[in-house]
């Protein structure tokens, strides 16, 4: 259909399609369809083994193909004028795949899979990832919109996928409403941009603005403002973040993990694409506005997180603050800024996934759910969970010997070099505020008198899982038993955080290649 976008009624040229470049996307979407069908076959082994294995295989294949077609610099169009592959698209899409694998591992034993069925769950997840990949490679307003919706709609369903949990349904509905408002706003903004420049192609728009169309053209300004607002909803940038804590808390925790890292990465990928590539010439107009948003996110996010007892809400608020940090890189608009954003997105994944994995592990055995008290005395009872959480918190707070320190360093570097030194100071002040709540988590784990916690299934989880249909016929005790895969994810992510905190060079190198994708950057 995208092909038809460029068809005049004259002779129609079928758009050239580069199947090699599209292979990762195809593998993900194909995997989505495959697991959907595979999930239809009843039986415990299908649900527990075949479907997750298929999904993970699809994602790993996608990663492999991405590495295969990776080449720094230059843009290769895949579908003429609609979709292209460059290092920015490929780089962030790897983040999506990794986040997807982590999510599937984390949800292996979770009640979500039992309640909505393994096939549907994995298929929706893969579909959402497909949307993200589409979004990351979008060269066209239409593709942007399709990608965004393909990303969002499965997530609405996933949020509400614990149909027996009231919170889950409420979270789904709330996310649907807020997300749709965001999409509609974005759509209107894109429409105005199209009207102002007469084209839906980003490159054409980029050339038109500032030459054919004046920079202060009212349509362009309004369009940019509305588009920024719409994307701010997705990236949960203050003041469009109000849905975040409720939805993060209500959604099934593996889904929350996925939203926290992957959705954010996708939203920032398109922010980079739209502003630092498409509209870079209009930077004088949107720069200050985005800078204001960044500061607002840093302040509001950190302030909001201080009072939280629920770990999921705390991480949601800290996510708002971190979005502010990443946005600073977008605001700077220099190549260094883009690299910084990419690097921070990359390290943001292991930090958060580690934290969420520990939360999941605790929620399954502690009747205190995701309350901070569920972590009490963890350092004594199970250090293998306490250390990943500690490392994650230290990294988010920006302590040295973790990737967070390098990230902060890099961000401040970019802001100062880009002439936004005050933004760097804002980041520093934000980090100061954030110490209060990150350190509290650590204190709860290591410094409060531990109590022996008898692993017992939380009643809310045990009772419905008995009534599960044959879709998922394993006992709730599976949740209570040791969860090797969750511990594995937590420890692996923590290890990555420390590794990239001490040997960041390879990641920085990748970040530079990603930055080289956007040629128009200052």
């Amino acid at each position: 259909m995208i092909g038809a976008v460029h068809s005049q009624l004259g002779p129609f040229h079928a758009p050239h399609v580069d199947w090699k470049g599209m292979s990762p996307l195809l593998s993900v979407l194909g995997g989505s369809a495959a697991v959907l069908i595979a999930g239809l076959f009843p039986g415990r082994r299908t649900q527990r083994v075949v479907v997750p294995v298929l999904a993970i295989a699809a994602l790993i294949a996608a990663i492999g193909l991405t590495v295969w077609i990776w080449e720094p610099g230059g843009v290769r169009p895949i579908v003429a004028g609609a979709l292209s592959v460059d290092t920015l698209a490929l780089g962030v899409s790897v983040l999506f795949y990794v986040a997807g694998i982590a999510t599937i591992l984390l949800s292996l034993r979770s009640a979500v899979v039992r309640e909505c069925g393994a096939g549907e769950y994995a298929s929706l997840l893969l579909g959402s990832i497909g949307g993200m990949v589409l979004l990351a490679g979008a060269q066209n307003l239409v593709t942007i919109f399709i990608g965004l919706e393909l990303l969002s709609i499965p997530l609405y369903i996933l949020c509400g996928s614990r149909v027996r949990q009231e919170h889950s349904l409420e979270a789904g509905l709330k996310y649907l409403i807020v997300g749709s408002v965001g999409s509609a706003t974005l759509l209107y903004g894109l429409a105005l941009l199209y009207g102002a420049t007469g084209s839906t192609s980003l490159s054409v728009i980029g050339h038109a603005v500032g030459t054919r169309v004046p920079l202060d053209d009212p349509l362009v300004l309004t369009g940019v403002a509305l588009a920024a607002t719409g994307l701010a909803f997705k990236a949960s940038i203050a003041p469009f973040h109000t849905w975040t804590p409720d939805v993060y808390q209500g959604a099934p925790t593996p889904v929350t993990t996925f939203m926290a890292v992957a959705t954010k990465a996708a939203a920032f990928a398109i922010l980079l694409r739209l502003f630092d590539e498409g509209l870079i010439s209009d930077r004088t107009n949107w720069g200050p506005a985005l800078a204001a948003l960044a500061v607002a996110s840093i302040v509001i996010g950190n302030a909001g997180a201080i009072g939280q007892r629920s770990m999921k809400r705390l991480l949601a608020w800290s996510g708002v603050a971190q979005a502010g940090y990443i946005l600073a890189g977008v605001v700077v608009g220099t190549r260094l800024g883009i690299q910084t954003s990419a690097f921070y997105l990359a390290i943001y994944l292991p930090m958060n996934v580690a934290a969420f994995a520990v939360v999941i592990a605790r929620m399954r055995v502690s009747e205190r759910g995701d309350d901070m008290a569920a972590l009490e005395g963890l350092g004594r009872s199970s250090p293998w969970l306490a250390w990943p959480m500690t490392i994650a918190m230290l990294a988010l707070a920006g302590f040295p010997a973790t990737a967070g320190f390098i990230g902060k360093f890099y961000l401040i570097d970019a802001t100062v070099a880009g002439g936004y030194a005050w933004l760097g100071v804002a980041i520093v002040i934000g980090s100061m505020i954030s110490l209060v709540y990150y350190l509290r988590v650590i204190a709860v784990m290591w410094m409060s008198p531990s109590e022996v916690e008898v692993p017992a299934p939380a009643p809310a989880r045990a009772s419905p899982s008995r009534r599960v249909r044959s879709v998922a016929g394993w006992s709730p005790e599976a949740d209570v038993r040791a969860q090797p895969e969750v511990a594995f994810v937590a420890i692996a992510c923590a290890a990555a955080t420390v590794f990239f905190g001490i040997v960041p060079e390879p990641l920085l190198h990748l970040a530079r290649e990603v930055g080289s994708a956007i040629s128009s950057a200052l």
Partner: protein, 99 residues
Amino acid sequence: MGIAWFLALSAFIFCIGAGGVITRRNPLVILLCLELMLNAGNLALLSFSRMVGNRDGQVFALIVMVVAACEVVVGLGLIVAMYRRRLPIDVDEVSELRG
């Protein structure tokens, strides 16, 4: 009559939709208002497509229509599920814990 009037109408519809989403409580009505916002976008796309004289806007509008349908269906599905759970169908009651 000029393109401006179509744009004005679409802007008007968009604002009505936005206002409705903000003020209304019944999720069904909110879904309606969301449709209003999306279709305001469609109207803008179509009128622009007429103005600049290429079809991109029209195709965009087609896709938006489908997407809108999908969103509504998901929304209805969630609402039905909540009815089945006998949950309060009121987006304010829906969130016991705010921001």
